[in-house]
């Protein structure tokens, strides 16, 4: 028997067939198709990808997608924190309904959310007619859609952590004379930084790739309100696979960098906090 054991022995049957099927199906559906993207990107090479990305229309779309996704994730971090706080710590009539509703952006198909948001924020819509500036068909409209789509990520990541925060820490702070606000900002919030970062990252990643809920409200004017996923579709429709691949590659790469930064920060905070 060699030292390396692929799997530990077990009395249960069916490992081989289940394991084999898993890999085959995974390869057919996910790995080979994604491999095609990688292959296509590789055949373009970095220089050409860079050249495509620096074309004004492409660059504008990428900048718009990433900028608005960051902004929307940031807004969600703030309001998601408030929502999670209220839902885990207070009891009030309708709390359970509100809690269930947080999952709406997951449950509503994106196209449905998209036309609904467009209708509300259009110049003659419920909200659009109330404000003196345009929301729909501008980057602001995109921002609204991205906030909608990202909210549950922040709330759902924060809730379990918030429920687990040791109440004694807050009590200790109070006995030491700290006012409630001081306790919240200096004792509770610092322990929420890691899940807040995770939620932010998830919301951001979702927003960058989001298509359905955005295009109806976006206006889709090249260079102004055209998001990167839409640009991919446009390029594909023009049979410009290279252009589409380049945009997709950059989207993936930039998302990866942002997620990496967030994850490293999170790991660093978590390590520092350790167990108290």
């Amino acid at each position: 028997m060699s030292q390396f054991r692929f799997r530990s022995p077990s009395a249960l049957p069916g490992f081989g067939i289940a394991y084999g099927f898993t890999w085959i199906w995974l390869s057919v559906i996910v790995l080979i198709p994604l491999g095609a993207v990688v292959l296509w990107a590789a055949s373009l090479g970095p220089a050409q990808i860079y050249a495509i990305a620096s074309r004004p229309q492409t660059f504008a779309a990428l900048r718009l997608s990433f900028g608005l996704s960051l902004a929307a994730a940031a807004l969600n971090a703030v309001f998601g924190l408030i929502v999670a706080w209220v839902l885990t710590r207070y009891s009030f009539p309708g709390r359970r309904l509100l809690d269930a509703a947080v999952d709406l952006p997951f449950a509503l198909p994106t196209a449905v959310a998209g036309i609904a948001l467009a209708a509300i924020y259009a110049p003659n819509g419920w909200v659009g007619s109330l404000v003196p500036f345009r929301i729909a068909y501008t980057p602001l409209g995109i921002f609204v859609a991205l906030v909608f789509i990202g909210l549950p990520f922040v709330v759902r990541t924060l809730q379990p952590v918030l429920a687990d925060v040791d109440r004694e820490l807050e009590e200790a702070s109070a006995t030491l004379g700290a006012r409630r606000a001081t306790t919240v900002f200096r004792i509770v919030l610092p322990t929420l930084v890691p899940p807040l970062l995770t939620g932010f990252a998830l919301a951001f990643a979702r927003a960058v790739g989001e298509y359905g809920s955005v295009i109806f409200i976006a206006g889709n004017i090249p260079g102004v309100s055209e998001i990167a996923p839409l640009l991919i579709i446009t390029r594909l429709e023009q049979f410009d696979y290279a252009g589409a691949t380049a945009v997709a590659t950059i989207m993936l790469a930039l998302s990866f960098v942002v997620l990496l930064i967030v994850n490293l920060t999170e790991a660093w905070t978590r390590r520092r906090l350790g167990r108290g």
Binding site: L12, A100, P109, A116, F148, Y211
Partner: protein, 285 residues
Amino acid sequence: MADAAPPSSPTSESPAARLALIAVAVIFLGFFLFLPLIAVFTEALRNGVGAYLAAFDDPDTISAIKLTVLVAAIAVPLNLVFGLAASWAIAKFEFKGKSLLLTLIDLPFSVSPVVSGMCYVLLFGGQGYFGKWLQSHDLQIIFALPGIVLATVFVTFPFVARELIPLMQEQGTSEEEAALSLGARGFRTFWSVTLPNVRWALLYGVLLCNARAMGEFGAVSVVSGHLRGLTNTVPLQVEILYNDYNFVAAFAVASVLAGLGLVTLAIKTGLEWRYGDEISAAHRR
């Protein structure tokens, strides 16, 4: 769910602060979550029930509904079988490279739907790797049913597996081993021991998978080709109606999808309240 502290607790915010925070949360959620939901139904019923129902007389809409049901009927069982196989292998056995496999299974969640559709175009589209070969054999994947099914399977790939794996891992292998020691055969053990233990999580996963399969827009949009009456799923039909300024019909069709989403959400919430432990804590996301 943690019980909220009593109002007199010295370690909670003042009543005024609580009220303000609750108000902020309610208003924020009202604007971003409830308003769009209400809008779907009011816009759909804007011209009365007659106009609402008339939207479903459109043959294109009817064929879109048929297509969507067909696609879900193919994609969901495929992912169900995959989910069972993957969770059996991953949760009940110890082997090298498990976390890599887990990461790869989750991969479709972190890929933009548009990119998910795009990979199949790069493979099977006119200029794709197999485009020429498919054309010469008169086979069509992109802009046809197979492409739509593939894209749908891709985006719903992890749903069942990721509900089952944490739960089955938690449950361990002792019950199966007991069944085997009592003389049950392998499949019998799976059927009468493993499956009943995960039935709620399985239902939950299938439900989410189905909702997403029927509602998927971005990925399907890329591979469908938007041929009216032929390759339009319900969400794509909503888009077409909307872009035709046929708003009432668009919202009427959308309201069906919204209803599906709401029913899914209601069942999911109900399952979580009743069988929270049996669905396992790891699912909340």
